[in-house]
Symmetry: C2
Subunit: 504 residues, 2 copies
C-alpha cells in the first residue's frame, strides 16, 4: 500500500510533479533495481499478517447469557495467545528483514523472488501457532513452526550470500569498506540467531518439547535481553575499551540507527489500516437484515429493520474514530521523531499489539450492547485496550525525551514551542480511557451508548486541544503570578512553555 515517494521537501516551493528518478543502471548492472517498492510491499504483508489473527479472536461466539469473565478465560485465551505470538514473532521477522535490507540496498529479479518465498513462509506461521494453541500437548505444531523459521533463515542467508557475491547490490558504506567479511559475518549472525534457536527447538520437540517453548520465547526477547545485559554491564563495570574500539565500525552502522524510521512508519500504517478496515467486514456480514424477515416482520420497511442495528453502527463509527485518532497521534509523534531507537521500536510494537486488539473491543461492545450482563465488562475491556495502546505511544515520547538531542526535533524538546501541545495530544487518550474505566466502576447506569458517544466526541477535543492547552497555560501562569513569584522565573516559564502559534 505504499510506494516510494519523494522525500519530504519541507519547503513551500514543492515541485508540482516530482520527476521520476532513473532507477536502473545501464550496461552490465542492467537488471538491478531500487528496493523501495519491494520493501513497502513486504511491510504491507508483514503488518497485515501480524494483525489479521485478531479476527478469529473477535469472531469467537460468546453466548449472550454466558458470563463474560469465564468465557474470556476459557474460550478466548488460546486465540489471544495465538494472536500475540504471531504478532511478536512477525515483528521479530520484520526487524530481521529491516536489518537485511539496510545492508542490501539494490535488488534484482532473483532477490525479489527469494524475498517473496520468504514472505510466503512468514504468512504461513499463524497456522503453526493455531496448531500449537489447539494442541498444546502435541509437539508437532512447534516442530512445524521451527522448521518454517529455519527455512526462512536459510533463505535470508542465501539473500546475504547473493548480495555479497554481487557487491554492487550492497550498501555503499559496506561496498567501500575493507573488511566486507566482517560485515557479512555480522549480518549473518543477526539473521541466523533466531533460526539457530529454532533449530534447537525443533530437535527438542522430539523428546522434551516444553524446552522448545522456552527457546521460542528466547527468540522474541533475545535481542532486548542482550541489549539489557550490555547496558547493565556498561553501567556497573564500565565499557571495555578494546572491545569498544574493535566494534566501532559496526557500531556506527548498526546501532546508531537501529531501525529505519520510514519502515517503522510503514509497518505501523499497515497495522492501523487493517484494523480500521476489518471492522466493516463484520458490519457487512452480521448486520444486513434477512430479506425474508424484513418482509414478514417489518412489511418491507427497511429503515425500521435497520434501526435495530443502531447500536452496532454507533459502535462501528466509534471504533473507527478511535483507530483513526490513535493513528493521528502516532503520525503527529513520528513527525517530530528524527530517529527511532531499538527501545522505542519495542514500545511501538507493544502499542501496535494493543491497536490490533481494537476489533475485539468493537466486537465485545457491539455484541453486548443490549443491556446484557456483560455490558460493563465489555466496556472495561475496551478501555483497557485503548489505554495500553495509547500509554505505550506516550512511553515512546517519554523515552525519546531522555535522549532528546538525538531523537527529537527541536520544536518538541523540553522548552520547545510544541512541547506542551504534543504532551496534551499524547496524554488525551490515556486520560479519556482511564476516565471511562473509572466511570464504569462508579456509575451503574453507564452504557455502551454513552461509551461510544464519548469515543465519537474525542476528535472535537483534539480540534480544541490547542486552545485548551493555551488556556491551561494561561491559568498556570496567572496562578504563578498570584503566588507572587519572581518575574524572572515567570518570563522563563513563558518562553519555555507557551505554544505561540495558532491553528490559522
Amino acid at each position: 500500500m505504499s510506494a516510494p515517494r519523494p522525500q519530504a521537501e519541507g519547503e513551500l516551493a514543492a515541485a508540482p510533479v516530482p520527476a521520476p528518478a532513473p532507477r536502473r543502471h545501464s550496461g552490465e548492472l542492467g537488471s538491478t533495481q531500487a528496493s523501495q517498492r519491494l520493501l513497502a510491499y513486504s511491510d504491507a504483508l508483514l503488518s497485515i499478517i501480524a494483525t489479521v489473527m485478531i479476527l478469529p479472536v473477535a469472531h469467537t461466539k460468546i453466548h449472550p447469557d454466558q458470563k463474560l469473565g469465564e468465557s474470556v478465560q476459557q474460550l478466548l485465551l488460546t486465540k489471544i495467545a495465538v494472536y500475540l505470538m504471531t504478532f511478536l514473532i512477525v515483528t521479530v521477522a520484520w526487524t530481521a528483514h529491516v536489518r537485511l535490507f539496510q545492508v542490501i540496498v539494490l535488488i534484482d529479479d532473483v532477490l525479489a523472488l527469494l524475498n517473496l518465498a520468504c514472505m510466503m513462509l512468514i504468512t504461513f506461521l499463524p497456522y503453526t501457532f493455531s496448531l500449537m494453541a489447539s494442541f498444546p500437548g502435541i509437539p508437532f505444531g512447534i516442530f512445524m513452526f521451527s522448521t518454517c523459521a529455519v527455512v526462512i533463515g536459510l533463505i535470508q542467508a542465501v539473500i546475504v550470500a547473493y548480495g555479497f557475491y554481487h557487491p554492487y547490490l550492497l550498501n555503499h558504506q559496506i561496498q567501500v569498506s575493507e573488511n566486507q567479511a566482517f560485515y557479512k559475518h555480522r549480518i549473518l549472525q543477526i539473521i541466523l540467531r533466531g533460526p539457530v534457536l529454532c533449530f534447537l527447538a525443533a530437535i527438542f520437540s522430539f523428546f522434551f518439547f516444553p524446552m522448545s517453548y522456552v527457546l521460542l520465547g528466547l527468540v522474541i526477547f533475545l535481542p532486548h535481553i542482550t541489549r539489557l545485559i550490555i547496558w547493565c554491564k556498561n553501567k556497573t563495570i564500565g565499557p571495555k575499551e578494546d572491545e569498544e574500539s574493535h566494534r566501532l565500525e559496526a557500531f556506527t552502522f548498526y546501532l546508531n540507527d537501529p531501525l529505519s524510521k520510514e519502515r517503522v512508519e510503514a509497518f505501523s500504517d499497515g497495522v492501523y489500516a487493517i484494523v480500521a478496515t476489518l471492522l466493516i467486514l463484520d458490519i457487512c456480514e452480521d448486520n444486513v437484515p434477512d430479506s425474508k424477515e424484513v418482509k414478514d416482520k417489518f412489511h418491507d420497511r427497511l429503515t425500521e429493520a435497520l434501526s435495530e442495528y443502531g447500536p452496532n453502527f454507533l459502535a462501528y463509527f466509534a471504533s473507527f474514530v478511535t483507530t483513526g485518532l490513535l493513528w493521528f497521534v502516532h503520525h503527529s509523534l513520528f513527525l517530530y521523531i528524527t530517529k527511532a531507537t531499538r527501545f522505542m521500536g519495542l514500545l511501538n510494537t507493544f502499542s501496535l499489539a494493543f491497536i490490533g486488539g481494537l476489533p475485539l473491543a468493537y466486537q465485545l461492545t457491539s455484541e453486548f450492547a443490549e443491556k446484557s450482563p456483560n455490558e460493563i465488562e465489555a466496556i472495561q475491556v475496551s478501555c483497557v485496550i485503548t489505554f495500553f495502546a495509547s500509554i505505550f505511544q506516550f512511553a515512546i515520547w517519554i523515552t525519546a525525551l531522555f535522549h532528546e538531542r538525538e531523537t527529537l526535533h527541536p520544536l518538541v524538546r523540553y522548552g520547545g514551542k510544541e512541547h506542551a501541545f504534543m504532551f496534551a495530544k499524547l496524554a488525551l487518550y490515556p486520560c479519556v480511557s482511564l476516565g471511562a474505566f473509572f466511570l464504569t466502576c462508579l456509575l451503574s447506569k453507564f452504557s455502551t451508548a454513552i461509551f461510544h458517544i464519548m469515543q465519537i466526541v474525542v476528535p472535537f477535543a483534539f480540534m480544541a486541544l490547542r486552545i485548551l492547552v493555551k488556556i491551561s497555560l494561561a491559568i498556570m501562569k496567572s496562578m504563578l503570578s498570584l503566588s507572587r513569584r519572581k518575574n524572572v522565573v515567570l518570563d522563563e516559564e513563558e518562553t519555555c512553555l507557551s505554544p505561540a502559534e495558532t491553528l490559522s
Copy 2:
C-alpha cells in the same frame, strides 16, 4: 503500510542512512506538515476496503453436491456485484483523492482530521452496497449510499476551501499562478462531479429509483466517457483552437500527469498484499483439526489428521505464489513506466479487480478438491480470474507502447534491450492460464492437484525466463538466416531484440 522513503537513487553511491529532511516550517506556518504519510495511510485504507469485500463472496458456503454452475448464478451473483461495485466506486473515490492531494501538498492537523472523516465514510460504503444487493427492490440502500457520497464530496470541498484559504498549503504551481480562482473552480468541479450526480440519485430514489442506479453507473464511467468523447471529437473535427489555448494552463497541470505513479503503485501494493494475506485466515479458521476428533479418530497422531488437509495447503501455497508473482510482474512493469496515463490507470483498476478475485479462486479450488463434480469448473473459474488479471497487465504495457516516448523507459521501448524480456514476463501468465483452461477441456483426468503444482512451478519459469528468451531469440535468428534473408535485415533484428545482458 507505507511511509515516505527517499527517492530511488539509481546510483551505487547510496548513502547508508538517508538524513531525515526537515518537514516543518518554523514561525507562523509551524503547524503544517508534509502529506506523504497521510497519503500512504489513505492509500492503504482505500485499497484494503476495495478488496476486502471479496471475503463474503469467498465465504459463501456451497454444498459439495450442489452443481457449481447454478450456485454461482444464484448465491454468488449478488455478492460479486457488491464486490465489483465497491471496488469500482472506491477506485473513483481514490482517483478524486489523488487529484485533491496533487493540489494540496502540505497538510495540518485540521486537514488530517477532515481526511480521516472522509476515510470513515468511504469505508462505510460497502455496507450500503450490501443493502442494495440484499434488497434490490427497496430504494433505501441507494439513498444511504448517495447520502454518504454527498457528505464525502462536501468534506472534500471543505478541504479544498480550507486549502485555498491557506495558500501556503497548495501546490507551488498554483500558489504562484495568477488565476488561483480558475484552479479552485476546476478542482471543485472534478471533486463535486460525482457527489452532484449522487445527490440527484438520492432525490430519484424517492420516486423512480432505477434512475438512481443509472446515475450510479454514470459516476463510475463519467470521467472515461468524457475523455472518450473529447478524443473522438478531436479525431473527427479536429481540436478547437481557442478552447485549447484557454485550457492550456489546466492541461499542463492536470492532464499531462493524470495520476501520480507513486500512488498507483501504493494502491496496487495494498490490493496485492491484502489478497495474499486473506488466504491464511481461511486456512487458520477452517483447517485446524478438532482436538476431540484427533483424539478419537487418530489417537493423538496429529500428522495423520493434518494429511487430510494436504490439498488445502497445496492450494494455499499455489494461490500465494500466483498472487506474489502477479505482484512481481506488476512491479517489473512499473519500474519501466515513467508516467501512468488515465487509460493505463483504468486498465490497472480492471487488473486489480480480478486480483481481488483470487481468494475466491483459492476457496473454490480448495473446497472442491476431493473429486467433487465441480472440480473442473472450479479450476476453470481460477484460470479465468488469473487470465484476466494478467491480460490487463499486458494491456497496460501495450497501451504504454503506443506512446512509448512519454510513458516508457528507453530500455523497454521497441528495440530496447529489455523489450523482449518484458514481453515474455508479461505474456507468461496469460499463456499459462489459457493453457490450463484448455487442458481442463481436453483432459478428463485433470485435477486441482495438477493445477496447483502447475501454479507452484511457475516461479521457476520466471527464473529461467531470461535464458528461454535468449534461446528463442537465437532460434528465431537461425531460422531467419536459414531462409537466407539479407544480412542487413539480420543485423537490424539482432540489435533490436536480443537482451544482451545476463542475470549475473
